[in-house]
Symmetry: C2
Subunit: 169 residues, 2 copies
């Protein structure tokens, strides 16, 4: 049994009703959204977007890492994006996980010690969101005028609360 | 005028019909999907998923970077994920962008030279997908038995073609 058979079967149904073959690569709304990998977050639905509207970048915690920045540099300089929304969320694993427990689980499951891995955990959710907005604003490879917002998404209510706004410049 | 006003207004409508407040954090389908930030990709729709089913990780090119791996280590060891689908796509900016042109655009727009940035561009799409599947399979912090698949999504047809399957072990 193929462990991915459910995805393959579902994609066949998607293909039957597919009508998006002519979408251009540059996002229609000139928007990039950076959010967490958390399964409870459907960023397109939360922000009223559809396919074609926005770049979506996701990792554990919606942290602004080198990987996110190198992606945004392409998004803004090559694909016409002019605004970046960073959306953290309540009840985030990056803020709940205790590093020593995560390390112990990895050692038990794999025999390998992940002490060299930077997990980008969050001590203070409000401060982390502000720091991540500032990390985008301060990126030297994004042009002046690029707009940056920080949102906090509440997984129990669906509210994406605007918390910060900054402009590269 | 708030440059993010459209998102804030759309979220108010989302909140009015929000019914997902009780979703648990561990993904129901024990699945993580790694795909590109490309605006034409709606990974939940493409693979028949809904909120609550899967972690979704996205960057430019769906490349398996340190940021993706540290996120997957949490996903698998802490949140019950047992399978990882890496989904590259046709017409990908990471494969079309010429590094010298990107650098020239950044220098022109910002005055700063991004030569120190690793952009993880793709020379050969098929080889890059295989390498990225192998990068997940070879991660020393994922337990034996974790399943890894490589898909190539065709942005003109909607088909997510299974190309690779590997098991951590």
């Amino acid at each position: 049994m193929d462990p991915f058979a459910d995805l393959i079967a579902a994609n066949a149904e998607y293909v039957d009703r597919f009508r998006l073959g002519d979408l251009p690569a540059p996002p229609r709304r000139k928007l990039a959204v950076v959010t967490c990998m958390d399964c409870r977050i459907d960023p397109l639905a939360i922000l009223g977007l559809e396919a074609g509207d926005a770049h979506v970048l996701r990792n554990a915690g919606a942290r602004i890492t080198d990987d996110v920045l190198r992606s945004l540099v392409k998004s803004v300089n090559q694909l016409g994006v002019e605004r970046v929304a960073v959306m953290h969320h309540t009840d985030c694993g990056a803020a709940k996980i205790v590093l020593s427990e995560l390390r112990a689980k990895v050692v038990e499951a794999t025999g390998n010690d992940p002490s060299a891995v930077e997990f980008h955990l969050i001590d203070d959710q409000a401060a982390a969101l502000e720091a991540d907005v500032e990390a985008v604003r301060g990126c030297p490879y994004l042009p002046p005028g690029t707009e940056v917002a920080g949102f906090l998404y509440d997984v129990t209510t669906g509210v994406a609360e605007p918390r910060h706004h900054a402009t590269v410049g």
